[in-house]
Amino acid sequence: MSARKAGKITASPTSQASRAGRRTAAGAALVVAALVSTAACGGGGGGKDGKGGGKAAGFNAGINKVASASDKKGGELKFIGTQDADSWDPQRGYYGFMWDFARYYTRTLVTPKPAPGAQSVDVVADMATDTGKLSDDKKTYTFTLRDGLTWEDGQPVTSKQIKYGIERTWATDKISGGPQWLMQVLDPERSYKGPYKDDTPDKLGLKAIETPDDRTIVFHLPKPNGDFLQMLAIPAAAPVRPDKDTAEKYGLKPFSNGPYKFVSYTANKGLELVRNDKWNRDSDPVRKALPDKISLRLTSNADDMDKKLIAGEYDVDINATGMGSAGRQKALQSSRGNIDNPQTGFIRFAAFPKSVAPFDNEHCRKAVIYASDHTSLQTARGGPEAGGDIGTSMLPPSVKGYDPGYDPFKLKQGKPDEAKAKEELKACGKPDGFRTTIAVRNNKPQEIATAESMQAALKKVGIDAQIDPYDGAQSTGIIGAPKNVKAKGYGILVFGWGADFPSGQGFLQPLADGRFIQESGNQNFPELDDPAINKLFDDAIAETDPDKAGKLYQEANKKVTEGAWYMPFTYEKNIIWRSSRLTNAYTSDAYNGRYDYASLGVVR
């Protein structure tokens, strides 16, 4: 057989090879040294400041203001990225960048305001003439559609198609993976089975939505929800035309009603959009639609992606999860003017499940918080710029109810407080410390670094923490399953969280409402179930005035933070690249600090 033959024949060269290897080891070292020094030259030589564009607009020029405002049309806006969308189907996509990008080809009744920073948290009318009429009992929303809404074949968009699109969310076996907020709010009992199992002739069997005519759509909520407009601003509320609905495959080529349409898409390779000439600019107060063409190229090499951005070959990293350390250092040194450093709205944290002793005791949880070194944790996340500010509570700056001065454990000073930690240990009945396990995703180097930082700091007060890195892709079934957490004895869970929409309901409720504890995919990691906190959420959600709701979320935040259920590491920030030719670039809180893609242009 060939394998045996080959094995026998290759055996002898190996022994000769090792002899030759010893003889020439010194020579090899020289060659390697020469190659490495060449690499250093290559790395340093390419510091050109983005070819093919104007001058960079300046460090943080896109934070809370518009960098390089312009209304000039034309050109190709070139995105690059390392991660494809989970789906480009409006009802299935859940990645933040997909929601941002989706505005190119799909529209919703309302949408985040196209304005920098915190202003984007408000929603404005998009397909609707206004942000809807709310009934006195706050349970009925009525919208009227604008004139001139069209699909890419020129046919008008009707309210029934919006209803049909929303109904697709209910078909969770086919249209899986997308956000389910509308389903939870409109039909909490799940009495509707989705349009594919709908016996009514026009497949519009969902009772909670009425379409009295083609221009009117009425939503009936079983109970008021102050964030309902935010939920309608998610692409999951976009229309789909039944005759163009290819079910599971819709995400491969969504039928456009926005300013651009799909020409091509290959999963994990890239996509191309061109202008949708049937789109009426007059009908759309939100989208600038400046480039003639929009492309996305997906790459496998994150370091090379940063290089390509710095070299000016691409304009924006569509994922915007922050540049890698090599690219970041180079960019901060030589091209600082192309960098923005936005808040992402994420909090990176450790959670303490109460089912794992001794974290059922508040004082043991507090001991961990006091003993940890918060400057070291910030450094582990990447430092003040690439990692973010030291977190002091469980509401991020982008959410109403956040109070910058609130810091009950004095974490901002950035030093461990060993005396207090020891006091808390005594109060917990563990004066000599205890043993526990930190669970951390094995594919997130920064999370592993934070776990190591905690391990070192906790040791000083006698807490012996083992680190257990687990398969990060399986987190829903590992740390998201309370049974498993208890069985494995995971006392400290390292994780991060960002809201689907910037409100206390979107951010804090899944983390801290006892009714959100689930068998799998659980996000309420401490398994916190406090009737007072649950009631605060109910009251806040029923409140349609965002400022009043913010006050209630602030109270809930205080209870969660002071109960020491979570220990925040950072209010996350990112370093993102803005090419020199980009115009109208500003970061948007509604899209986790990404640029508002619908506003970008490439011609000055």
Binding site: S2, R23, G42, Y94, K174, K197, K249, K269, G521
Partner: protein, 332 residues
């Protein structure tokens, strides 16, 4: 010869069956052992039991492994239907499965990715065969000279340096610094010039690694062969040195080279993973890596089966070629 072929082909089929069965078993055993549910990977952030159950049904996760094995194998020859949630998707033969992650059939993805990998591997193979074998022969003939030592030093560097080092290095120098070559792959049909330019770096990088191994292998084998009796006889007969080396010694030297080449080509067709990742070539190896990252089980199964077939077929071809190259070998 005919009986030999039939026997080998039968072994190939059994082997591929085992590969499919083992791959399937791994997919279904691991979630059971680790206590995780494959269906939860597909439901997104808000996982409710009804959605998970729907996905379980669609992915046929409740069927026993042998039933799944039968569905897969019969699909390969007869095609199969995927039913779920009220609609049906037909997958014509050869049905390598359906990716629920990307909502597409596996076979068209494989055929879309194959040309990229073939472009990479064939170009690199030409380079490393020419470079590696020539260097090895010359080194063997000039054993102990400066040429031999420096060639073997470079070869040692080639074997030792990982692709992601030499790859990034060559990109840094030839693309970003000197600007001589494209940093991206273009389809041959789209622009042959750009195709060539984009593949230059991957070819050289991959060939550097393999040429080094082939040079060392060729040199060692050649030295061994030159010590054989029949070479001495050939020289004693008064044959000219080019004939001794080129005709008599080369034939024996090429046997192990060919063996390794067959296995390398087979393996690379499914797995030039590092090269494809470093240079962002969207080939089969890259498809496998992405599929593993996304836990796209049908895609992993498809690539695995495709790759195993390539390795096994390449080995079969090599065995047949032996008879051509080495007159001492008879297939029976």
């Amino acid at each position: 010869m005919f009986a030999y072929l039939v026997r080998r082909l039968f072994a190939v089929i059994v082997m591929l069956g085992v590969v499919v069965l083992v791959t399937l078993s791994i997919f279904f055993a691991i979630p059971k052992l680790t206590g995780t549910d494959v269906a939860t990977l597909f439901v997104g952030k808000q996982a409710d039991p009804a959605s998970i159950e729907g996905i379980r049904q669609k992915l046929e996760l409740d069927d026993p492994i042998l039933v799944q094995f039968w569905h897969f194998v019969s699909g390969l020859f007869a095609g199969r239907d995927y039913t779920g949630g009220g609609t049906t998707e037909h997958c014509p033969a050869p049905c390598f499965g359906y990716s629920f992650r990307n909502e597409q059939l596996i076979w068209p993805v494989l055929t879309d990715r194959l040309p990229v990998t073939l472009s990479l591997v064939s170009g690199a193979a030409v380079l490393w065969l020419l470079g590696g074998v020539a260097t090895g022969v010359v080194s063997a003939l000039k054993r102990g000279t400066l040429w031999d030592r420096s060639a073997m030093t470079v070869a040692l560097a080639g074997v030792s340096l990982p692709i992601y080092f030499t790859g990034l290095l060559s990109l840094a120098v030839f693309h970003y610094w000197l600007g001589w070559v494209d940093g991206e792959y273009t389809d041959f049909a789209e622009d042959p010039g750009a195709w060539f330019s984009g593949l230059m770096m991957p070819w050289i990088t991959l060939a550097f690694l393999y040429a080094a191994m082939y040079a060392r292998l060729t040199r060692a084998t050649m030295l061994e062969v030159l010590g054989e009796d029949y070479i001495r006889t050939a020289r004693a007969k008064g044959l000219r040195e080019p004939v001794v080396i080129g005709k008599h010694a080369m034939r024996s030297t090429m046997t192990p080279v060919l063996t390794i080449l067959g296995m390398d080509l087979g393996a690379l067709i499914g797995g030039a993973i590092l090269t494809e990742s470093t240079f962002n070539l969207q080939g089969l190896g890259r498809a496998a890596v992405v599929a593993i990252g996304e836990r796209d089980l049908p895609m992993i199964l498809g690539v695995t089966l495709f790759t195993s077939t390539a390795v096994i077929v390449a080995n079969l071809v090599v065995d047949l070629l032996y008879a051509v190259i080495d007159p001492r070998v008879r297939l029976s």
